[in-house]
Amino acid sequence: MILHTVNKSPHTSNCLQSCLRTLSDQDALLLIEDGVYAADNHYANQTEALGEEITLYVLKADVDARGLQNRLSSRFQVIDDAAFVDLCVQYPKTQSWY
């Protein structure tokens, strides 16, 4: 029950790779800032291999800012900042990968 956040692009940083190594069932992964590039369909094979028990989120404001609205893997739920706050409350622990 850990909320993991990644804020770096998978193309320039190993943050996402390190995170994927430690994700457990019932954890959640939220991509923010440049991390949202990993939600792109083109990169989805990395994240779509994750089991169904791991929920994947991406932050709307960062997606829109980067023009990724129509490029996202359907595996990711697009959430707004208010929902981000709810996630931080829902998950007792957060591990930030930056």
């Binding site: 850990i2 390190s18 622990k93 591990q95 990968w97």
Partner: protein, 122 residues
């Protein structure tokens, strides 16, 4: 791998001197230790570089973090873990490190995350 219920896990993922993160992490750990909070340290990715011997920072005018890390056991901080794949991809043998560490594979890292009461991300 004994971790108490309300154990704080500090995840150390940066090299010692490329930026201030490792120094800030050590300051946070020392402060928590001074308040006798139960701490575990997990070194992974470039964080394992913080544990290499023979660090001589005189030439870059930086505080030698490797002089402070071995002091932690005196503050009752004694649970040091390193991630196996981070060591392997950097050709580092855990025996050469400046702290006595327990090497964890990725499954054991997941257990450590799950068992810890809270996480400090560095």
């Amino acid at each position: 791998m004994s971790t108490t219920a309300k154990n704080i896990l500090a995840v150390m993922r940066t090299g010692p001197y490329g930026n201030q993160t490792a120094k800030e992490a050590l300051d946070a750990v020392l402060t928590a230790a001074a308040f006798e909070l139960p701490l575990s340290l997990l070194f992974m990715d470039d964080g394992v570089f913080q544990l290499l011997p023979q660090q001589d920072t005189q030439g870059i005018g930086a505080k030698d973090l490797s002089a402070t890390l071995p002091v932690l056991p005196m503050y009752d901080v004694e649970r040091f873990y390193v991630e196996q794949s981070s060591l392997e991809s950097r050709g580092i043998n855990s025996a050469e490190l400046i702290l006595p560490v327990e090497v964890l594979d990725s499954e054991q890292v997941k257990v450590l995350f799950a068992e810890s009461a809270s996480i400090l991300s560095f």
